[in-house]
């Protein structure tokens, strides 16, 4: 005889467990191994003696000490530290999970400059650009039905060409790593902006309407179906949630205060994050970074916050700086942040720091001291171990340098024909897309004649488009 609620129970179990897939397990295993590596790093070995806690003799005198040790052990155990270390000791004896393990360097806090970031992601993008399954020849356009979906990943880009001032429907293309493209839809709302690519790879978020009442709609990359979307007054897009992208984070004005808020993609407001955790100033895509499992995020306020809005930890500001904002994942365990000096007689100077997610002192990538033109405001890891540095010089002119480990930054020798007015609008692995402008003056590029792809490592250059476009790279997980 079956119980009346048996079916409901089975259904709930199935739904819950279906969320955990082989792929997710591999990601979790990889993340755990990295955490173990980090724990066993030199900088952390001071914590390891806690493993011997069980061996502490419990003589009557020592029992008075034990509660203190126990409290420390509780904290360590709560974050899984000891389990992690114990696992590490044996994990190499176990069968490896099927996923390819990415070995990225884990810079310790003692390193002053760590220009050896997650080159693996870049390397993947770069290597896929050499040859790949089903890629179209450069410049050729295929249909949505021809997209080799199983190959879509690192190095692929979504491109929404500028439609000019007319009211023609917007078009969205999916570009493969070697420059072939697939038309996803040519019937998107006129004037729509491309905001983001969902972490599951199947959707793109668009914004249309007025800035006071922007409308957020998703287009399915597989079917070109446009969702009804929703309108969120006085808001700007910040990020998809992870791991699937079933919700979005927006910055929204709430009672005159900028707050980080979360809506599901159907437009239901799910959470307003506390104001002190949201971050101050204008948030932008990238200024809030999700951890891969989506349970925690680093906000623009430089705080690690749980998905449900509780503070886990605050990250310290480097000495001499007034504020810092996260920019991107540098490695699986480290975030690149840009920090500004306090307001003074001149313009604030920017510096780039690498902040370990687990906490601790950030290490410097580029210091503001001695920098001209306000310092570097962004950086991108390249597959050859070098780092591309970017700064805004003046009048819309951007400057780019290359940082080679152990050396002073040197100016980037950019693609031929781009000129000083060109600037990077997208990076996908080693591939930088430059907007080539002319008629430049204070206020930026007036007109753009083309978009040019430039491989930072091989030096190859190709024209991508004959006009401006918005480009969004594949939403890779931090690696």
């Amino acid at each position: 005889m079956t119980h009346p609620i048996e079916d409901r129970l089975r259904e709930a179990y199935q739904a819950k467990t279906a969320q955990l897939t082989e792929q997710r397990l591999d990601q979790l295993a990889e993340h755990r191994e990295r955490a173990m590596d980090d724990l066993l790093d030199d900088a952390h070995t001071g914590d390891l003696p806690i493993l011997g806690f069980d061996e502490v003799p419990t003589s009557p005198r020592l029992r008075w000490v034990a509660p203190g040790l126990a409290a420390a052990a509780v904290v360590a155990l709560a974050v899984g530290a000891t389990a992690v270390v114990a696992n590490h000791l044996d994990s190499r004896l176990l069968p490896n999970p099927p996923a390819t393990r990415v070995t990225s360097p884990t810079p310790s806090s003692s390193q002053s400059v760590s220009p050896s970031p997650s080159a693996s992601a870049s390397a993947r993008a770069s290597s896929t650009a050499i040859a790949g399954p089903g890629y179209l020849p450069r410049g050729q356009t295929g249909s949505r039905g021809e997209v080799p979906w199983s190959a879509v990943g690192s190095g692929w880009r979504l491109v929404l060409p500028s439609a000019g001032a007319g009211k023609a429907p917007a078009s969205l293309y999916l570009y493969d790593p070697i420059g072939g493209r697939y038309l996803i839809s040519d019937r998107l709302p006129a004037g729509a902006d491309l905001l983001a690519w969902s972490p599951d790879g199947g959707r793109a978020m668009l914004r249309s309407g007025s800035s006071d009442a922007p409308r957020y709609q998703e287009v399915s990359l597989h079917s070109a179906t446009l969702s009804d979307g929703f309108t969120a007054p006085s808001s700007s897009f910040v990020s998809y949630t992870r791991p699937n992208g079933l919700s979005v984070l927006l910055q929204q004005s709430v009672d005159g205060t900028a707050r980080l808020v979360r809506y599901d993609t159907a437009g239901h407001l799910k959470l307003r994050y506390p104001a002190d955790l949201s971050g101050v100033g204008a948030l932008s895509p990238g200024s809030t970074l999700y951890l891969p499992d989506g349970g925690q995020l680093i906000t623009a306020a430089l705080k690690l916050v749980t998905n449900d809005g509780h503070l886990v930890r605050s990250y310290p500001l480097p000495s001499g700086y007034d504020s810092c904002t996260p920019l991107k994942w540098w490695t699986a365990d480290t975030v690149l942040e840009v920090c500004l000096t306090p307001p003074g007689p001149g313009e604030p100077a920017a510096a780039l720091y690498l902040q370990p997610v687990a906490g601790g002192t950030p290490s410097v990538l580029t210091d503001a001291a001695g920098q001209t033109d306000g310092g570097y405001g962004d950086a991108w890891p390249l597959s050859n171990g070098h780092v591309l540095l970017g700064n805004h010089v003046s009048c819309g002119i951007s400057g780019y340098d290359i940082l080679v480990p152990g050396k002073a930054p040197r100016p980037l020798r950019g693609p031929a024909g781009v000129g000083a007015a060109g600037f990077i609008i997208s990076m996908a692995g080693d591939l930088a897309t430059f907007a080539v402008g002319y008629g430049s003056s204070c206020g930026g590029i007036r007109e753009a004649s083309a978009l040019v792809d430039y491989d930072m490592v091989t030096g190859q250059t190709h024209q991508l488009l004959d006009r401006l476009a918005t480009i969004v790279a594949w939403p890779a997980e931090p690696s």
């Binding site: 129970l9 993340h31 755990r32 509780v74 709560a78 389990a83 699937n244 349970g295 449900d308």
Partner: protein, 187 residues
């Protein structure tokens, strides 16, 4: 069966006495076991600890334990049962530590938040059932998960949890009745 000071049943891979006697170790294909059982075990652990990272962790630990003790495993067919029991024990251990940590450090609880996407992947009715399940005693949760998700027999559940078949039956019955009461008899 041995019981440690904290009440966790120590895993006994072969469920037989006389382990000190020399026994030729049975060949155990750990890689095949890992490939076949990692995901189901992790999903089972997820039902108990409600956190994917921890579920992955406890299953990893279970395989390590099996690897370390495989020489004591007389019957390779018992390996899955051993893993299942170890997962239950590890989950209990995690829950106990989490509970202790909550008493000492209020922030710890919050670091276990699930992703926003997780709740959206579940229908409201499913969410309701899972929330009600979490309010059941731990033993009842284990029995129900093994029975209605793992589709194990009473005997297998009894072996995995180290309890009698009668206890399995009564825990399942009480658990289901409480669930029904919480969810509403009309449904």
């Amino acid at each position: 069966m041995t019981v440690s000071s904290d009440g966790i049943r120590a895993p006994e891979p072969d469920c037989e006495a006389g382990e000190q006697l020399p026994v030729a170790p049975a060949p155990l294909d750990l890689a095949a076991l890992y490939a076949a059982h990692r995901l189901p075990l992790a999903r089972f652990a997820l039902l108990l600890v409600d956190d994917m990272a921890t579920a992955e962790d406890v299953v990893h630990d279970a395989f390590i334990a099996l690897q370390q003790h495989q020489s004591r495993l007389r019957n390779p067919a018992a390996a899955v049962g051993y893993l299942r029991t170890t997962v239950v024990n590890n989950c209990r251990s995690v829950l106990r530590k989490r509970q202790t940590a909550r008493r000492h450090l209020s922030l710890v609880r919050d670091t276990h938040a699930e992703a926003a996407d997780s709740e959206l992947l579940l229908a409201a009715t499913q969410q309701e059932v899972l929330t009600a399940l979490r309010r059941l005693p731990r033993r009842q949760q284990e029995v129900l998960a093994l029975r209605y998700w793992g589709n194990l027999s009473e005997a297998e559940i009894a072996e995995a949890l180290g309890i009698s078949r009668g206890a399995v039956k009564s825990n399942a019955s009480r658990g289901m009745d409480k669930l029904q009461a919480m969810l509403g008899a009309s449904r």
